[in-house]
Symmetry: C2
Subunit: 175 residues, 2 copies
């Protein structure tokens, strides 16, 4: 059931606008009854949040380039591409629009990726900002600009945030 | 019409859940026809976004305490209280859930408040971070943690972000 409903949503999202999407329409496409969907997901916004958070889950760990700055900047380039895309934005909105806010899964995925990169750098013996510092001073400004400002994120800007964290290691990291 | 519809939304929001709220329900309470609402706002999510962004508009300029750090921390305490409240979160979600994303008004109000504080400090001759720096390294981390992390923001943490900006003035501010 889960797979056929998710696939129905994927298909319909390419055919109709978000505003036109309804639970009965998805049920028909998936070959289930609307009540099956309501029972499992509650309502349309919860279903869309579930589908989107599955899509936001990364396929693999961030690539290992043997150096913290390279790992961070290359992962960030991908992250920005994904989040600033029309699909990415719509997914983030679906997830945020769900009433079961709390810990939003796409935030958890992002934190996991950053943790993997930081952990590797520590293993290599590199001076490494805390995961909190990287989330606060690299990820947060980028997401805020994308989501609240509707801004385009340049590579120069994103990489500068990384450099800010790497060069202000002591003052940014809480005692 | 605008006022009676906004008032109807305010009243109904205290009586029914967001999921139960409908355009016909709002129209009845406001004494207008549903088509009036659809014509003016498009759909429910646009109407809620409009109501919420009006509520997020601050009543007055940030207070002037005669010193940059005091102005920032005191404004921030209020901002965090407001944004982390149940109503604040619901409002931010309404605004983000609107399909006409782009420049989100509550982000504009925040930027305006920060600009007023920074401008005053410059007039006083204080060393002042740029508005971009304050948005990136104080406002963004707080909003990211509230919205994506569902976290509680402590005063200590919020004030530390202000201090990070004030003590790393040269490295944080782009050249």
């Amino acid at each position: 059931v889960q797979e056929s409903v998710h696939n129905a949503v994927h298909e319909l999202q390419t055919e109709v606008s978000r505003a036109a999407l309804t639970v009965p329409m998805i049920a028909t496409r998936a070959g289930v009854t609307p009540s099956t969907i309501y029972r499992r997901w509650g309502d349309l916004s919860e279903l869309l949040a579930d589908v989107s958070s599955q899509r936001l889950r990364p396929d693999s760990d961030p690539a290992d380039h043997g150096q913290l700055r390279a790992d961070l900047t290359q992962w960030l380039d991908q992250f920005v591409d994904e989040m600033a895309s029309e699909l990415g934005l719509a997914m983030v909105r679906d997830v945020l629009g769900s009433s079961t806010m709390g810990k939003v899964p796409c935030c958890t995925y992002t934190r996991e990726a950053v943790s993997i990169i930081a952990e590797r750098a520590i293993q290599r013996g590199e001076a490494t900002p805390s995961v909190d510092t990287l989330m606060d001073h690299v990820v947060a400004p980028i997401m805020y600009r994308i989501i609240f400002g509707g801004e385009t994120i340049s590579t120069t800007y994103a990489h500068r945030l990384v450099d800010v964290c790497l060069t202000n290691l002591e003052t940014l990291t809480p005692g």
